[in-house]
Amino acid sequence: MSETIKKFMYLNRRAPYGTIYAWESLEVVLIGAAFDQDVSLAFIGDGVYQLLEGQDTSESDMKNFSTTYKALGDYDVTKLYVEKESLEERGLTLDDLMPLTWEDEDDDWAEKDSIRLVSRAELADVLDDQDIVYSF
């Protein structure tokens, strides 16, 4: 759709249901996937709660959109950076998050992890390397 390939980062900073930012961020990611850019997502601060396994919104009448993260691989959105310190500060580990994977067509459709656990310093370098940062 465009000849320019830019590095697009969607920076997710908030818990999933207290505000609409997380869901409307996902809506941008899904639309943006059609533009064939080099897309990454990062989850920092309370944003790490967006990826928590076993989300149940049935008592709160909120739409549970957590399954959408599992579909991101099908949209070729395969780089999800999660900040290690943000998990630790909230008493969480990688095991508390949804197992998110994608199939690599260049590697006989091998299933690979989408989540990349990075330190705060490493994520700073990743962000520094981006052309565009959408902040939610």
Partner: protein, 130 residues
């Protein structure tokens, strides 16, 4: 410099929209180009002509309309965010069977693709939000 601006918060509630406006005005005054202003989340409320702020306060919506007119700005309100929050133009009124429209002068309603395109085509995307 060719800028794009994203506004994520509503008028009066949050300073983000004032900062975005002041930035846009300063950038244009300095000779820069603003290829699009995209209103998302509660930012879509910048585009309703039903606001009536007290007379001794700034009129944020009219201010955008005037800046848009003076510089022929492309001011886009996200359709999905607008539908949730009741920002309606002629087309949306007919499509969704509403009996009124409230889009302010100089704004248009369009899709999120316009935000991605702004990211691709601009040299800098400035995000104003919380």
């Amino acid at each position: 410099m060719k800028f794009a601006i994203q506004v994520n918060e509503g008028p009066y509630q949050h300073q983000a929209t004032d900062s975005a406006y002041q930035f846009a005005k300063a950038a244009l005054d300095a000779g820069h180009e603003i290829m699009r202003v995209f209103f998302y989340h509660d930012g879509v409320n910048n585009g309703t002509n039903l606001t009536t702020p007290p007379q001794d306060d700034r009129n944020i919506v009219n201010r955008w309309s005037e800046l848009g007119k003076a510089h022929d700005l492309d001011m886009v309100v996200c359709v999905a965010a607008a539908q949730r929050r009741g920002i309606v133009d002629e087309g949306e009124m007919q499509r969704n069977g509403k009996d009124a429209q409230n889009i302010a002068d100089g704004f248009r309603i369009s899709g999120l693709g316009q935000l991605i395109e702004a990211g691709i085509q601009s040299e800098r995307l400035m995000v104003f939000g919380d």
